[in-house]
Symmetry: C2
Amino acid sequence: MPRINALPSLALMRSFEAAARHESYTMAAEELGVTQGAVSRQVRELEAAIGVTLFRRVGRAVRLSKAGRALREELAGDLERLSGTINRAIAAGDGATLLTMAVLPTFATRWLVPRLADFKASHPEIVLDLHSYTTPFSLEERRVDVAIHFGHDDWPGAALRKLFPEHLVVTAAPALVGSAGLDEKQDVFDLPLLHLTSRSEQWSDYHDSLGLGARAVFPGMRFDQFSMLIEGAVAGLGAAILPSYLIEAELASGALVEIGQVANVSGSAYYVAFPTGQKNEAVQVFSDWLIKQSKHRRSAG
Amino acid sequence: MPRINALPSLALMRSFEAAARHESYTMAAEELGVTQGAVSRQVRELEAAIGVTLFRRVGRAVRLSKAGRALREELAGDLERLSGTINRAIAAGDGATLLTMAVLPTFATRWLVPRLADFKASHPEIVLDLHSYTTPFSLEERRVDVAIHFGHDDWPGAALRKLFPEHLVVTAAPALVGSAGLDEKQDVFDLPLLHLTSRSEQWSDYHDSLGLGARAVFPGMRFDQFSMLIEGAVAGLGAAILPSYLIEAELASGALVEIGQVANVSGSAYYVAFPTGQKNEAVQVFSDWLIKQSKHRRSAG
DNA sequence: GACATCCATGAGCTTTAGTCACAGAAAAGA
DNA sequence: TCTTTTCTGTGACTAAAGCTCATGGATGTC
């Protein structure tokens, strides 16, 4: 029986949060679309309500007090969470089930999203809410029903179902290597190399796999998403190691040329992950569908 | 830049949450201290705001719709979280630093709280916010700065500092065993045995340690807090295995008699735990103090 | 020293949140 | 079957909250 009594109104909290973020009532007012006076009042009212000085008035400016800073840090997260809850309810609408998922951005744009029409057709009652992520996170912390995971079967607190392994190819634009490719595979190391932030040892591993020994570091541009890496490679910025399933179209059209292959020695693969003890049955439905999709090839798209 | 626009007002969400919990506007109104009509309006307004039917009106009653149930589950947590944030800000007040900690209830009442006067005297600027827990949890999920952990150095995502190991003794009220104790240690197994929910194998381990072989199960009352177990043992409900530091007073007064000892073979101990990457400096101050306290004995209290 | 910029605040307006009183519908009980 | 009770829904109205506007005061800036 959670007694939620006497919470200050949302308007007060929103005003404070914005004011704290900008350390300026005027800018907060602008962001919120109200007058500066309104923000000034709201903040004072909140201070009165909780009996804490949130801002120090120094000169003509306002500065967050220590207590104010502590409150803002928590409050910002809480409000965002609340806002997410409401927005998800709106998105799900009547009768529908909402499935919130965390996805790897390029996996989503190039593989998942093109297939979603099929999912929607067979399960119109499930509304998806996709969030991309580039760094690891915990499933409970973010409120996510399902996540796409790349790596190994080692996510604490999560149940994993394997989708498919990854087949990596070394590629470059024909402008860099000619449409026939390189004479010798190792010549790629004379080209500029493009890197994915989260997989920094990839070139080093490839170097090693060609019997050239392991070299610790390779310079070159870094991108945190495959989509950028792909566009970079197509634009002739350098050679890139890319999963073949992401560049079917580019290989078919000749925008990229394959100049080597990388053996999947690590056994890394794509997985569907969901919190153990998940009760949302849409999770089951969706992950079944995903696995079915992963089994049959699809005309490049 | 989290745009939190057009959130329905807190009053709407509170009304909905209460109405959903009771599945009755009348009772919700009573809880919130407003009229039934107000709740009816608020819920309708929320439904209009998010475009979702939250209640089905069946007969003279209201029932949560599927969407309503989903929303309530999330919303209840969000509101509680928000309420916690505000209440902590109020508790901390001006200038003070708040330290939220999760404690084992009996550890807190018998060991920690009696020593807190000392902490408060030396660090008046740190306000403590204690929450007891009896089941494992993740530090980030609940927003806790510090936790007292019993067991091993194995809490994922947490940094641990050891406080002290636990010394377990087998005890019973003198009414059960006489003030001189038992003739033979194993005679304790003829007495009713009291259990701590979270340590179900304790009697079995003790049985084994006396060279009597491991027996899988022992019947007997179960309690989820040591404090209950202690009172149960004092009241003569049965024999109990208890940490000596919790029952110094009872042993001294003769309310409990020691009838055996348990070797700490598992190496379990008490730890201070805090999220890795913790920046709140009060955490450091508090855990230093805790460790200092754990080193010097204290007159039984 | 004049100016611009920002926060504070009194007066007044608008919207929101709630009360009151009663209507309508459906269970419960006689 | 016919009350009676117990819900929710709603029109009319009131109180309060939330804002705006206009202006004053303080403090940097050029």
